[in-house]
Amino acid sequence: MLRGSFMAIWEHRSKSVSGARNGKRQIRYALWTIPLSILSAYLLWEAASRWSGLPAFILPAPAAVARRLWAALQDGSLLRHTSTTLAEILGGLSLGFIFATSLGYLLAKSKTVERILSPYIVASQSIPVVAIAPLLVIWFGPGRISKVMISALIVFFPILINTIVGVRSVPQDLYDLMRSLRATRWQIFTKLEIPAAMPVLLGGLKIGATLSVIGAVVGELVGADQGLGFLINVGRGVYDTTLVYVAVITLVVLALTLFTFVAALEWWFLRWREPPAGY
């Protein structure tokens, strides 16, 4: 019944199943809408490649892409490049998340820190990360590190903002409650601030998850010898359009998987929230 660790805060076995019911309905819905949309996309593509008269190096047929996919899977190259990109994405997202949440927490808690740092943060945000990606590749080399840095930079700002908003949204009365109980700073952090800021924080992570993929790929496009972005460059260079398609589709799957994972995390952590109206 009682659990010490703060992770247990979210663990609840409420008799109310409104949230679960809502989730189940959505899953059942998704079970036939997702295959349906994939099927219609396939049919459209097939039709376009047959009857549009476009040459195969612009719009290859689905079957040709499937064959290329199979080949890339067989020789292990797709797996190698995918795992490189995935490592960069996860590295960038974690790095960006750690820095953005730490700094965001400081900024939310200290007016002084905010006053000193916010001009720089706002100014730095007006630099498009994509434009300085070549610079980062020069600085950190063509290896994975530069991609991790680009990805981390891209996810940094939205997660930072969400952290600040989340921490500022903690109700004053709950702070007073914790203070009246003489809770330590650590207890306030773990038992109040983290769970109370969690909804906004996870919103930031969701945005960050999508952006981290963009960051890694941009880095690879600028200069790399591995990864899905590199694969796109190679395919383009030798007019192997099917290879470009394979890489792009893999990226989409990667991004969707990541997004779904964060969404699942959100659902798990926020079961205590009111189910959204309209379901």
Binding site: M1, L2, H12, S14, K15, D173, D176, S180, L181, R182
Partner: protein
């Protein structure tokens, strides 16, 4: 009343919030004593500074001038011996009923076995058996308020500060909660300072009623309510009760 010693002493409290050149004067020269095991109600017009006074009494807000002496010591910070019930039930929405109630015990580092036992007692005391695992969003206003009261009692504070604990409730629930509170207070042998905006609630529950004036608030009436205990709702129809309530009402209207 086993003891006559003052558990809480407010010494000429002033609170001014920064606002414009002069500042917002909220409390002005408030002094009073609360004896151990006493039940004191504070009434006053809306926005006069009742919550502010309670925050000062609990050590959450430092007065601009004056001091609070709690159990013989000047109060500079909150104490665990002082429990709070806030104006809104102020529960953590991600915690179930038991987990909300046991929060103070978790913070003071009680053993899991003790916490489990104490929680069971409290759930029983406030009549929430069967709702242990419910989340605040699934509780009615009255139930949430009872969770808040149970939480404030969890670590057995000597002094309970309550800010309109029944403010959100309908009249019927309110009356029932009032008598329940009396029962809990008698069982837990604590001292209560409670803010309310209901005159009859104040007279029915309290040993003493303090009436605050409009802002800046000072005490315009300190009325002892010498009605026998245990008290029941029937008391509200008696002449004595009516006279006392009229005095309080007169004091509020005179401000």
């Amino acid at each position: 009343m086993t003891s006559n010693a003052a558990i809480l002493h407010a010494e000429s409290l002033y609170v001014t919030f920064p606002d414009g050149d002069l500042g917002l004067r909220v409390l002005e020269d408030i002094s009073f004593d609360v004896k151990a095991n006493e039940f004191v109600c504070i009434v006053g017009p809306s926005g006069c500074g009742k919550t502010t006074l309670l925050r000062v009494l609990g050590g959450l807000l430092e007065p601009s001038r004056g001091a609070v002496i709690f159990e013989g010591q000047a109060l500079a910070r909150p104490r665990r011996r002082i429990g709070f019930v806030f104006q809104e039930s102020n529960l953590m929405p991600w915690r179930s009923t038991v987990d909300n109630i046991c929060l103070p015990l978790e913070i003071t580092g009680a053993s899991p076995e003790f916490i489990r036992k104490r929680c069971e007692e409290l759930i029983d005391l406030v009549g929430l058996v069967g709702f242990e695992e419910s989340l605040p969003r699934d509780l009615s206003g009255g139930m949430a308020q009872r969770v808040a009261i149970a939480r404030a009692l969890a670590h057995q504070p000597d002094l309970l500060l309550m800010d309109e604990p029944f403010g959100q409730l309908d009249a019927l629930t309110r009356e029932r909660m009032g008598t329940e509170l009396l029962r809990i207070w008698e069982a837990s042998k604590s001292t209560v300072v409670m803010v309310t905006h209901s005159i009859s609630e104040a007279v029915l529950l309290a040993d003493r009623v303090l009436v605050l004036s409009a802002r800046p608030a000072s005490i315009v009436l300190d009325l002892s309510v010498r009605l026998t205990r245990p008290r029941s709702l029937e008391l509200t129809y008696t002449r004595r009760f009516g006279d006392l309530a009229a005095k309080v009402r007169g004091a509020i209207q005179s401000t």
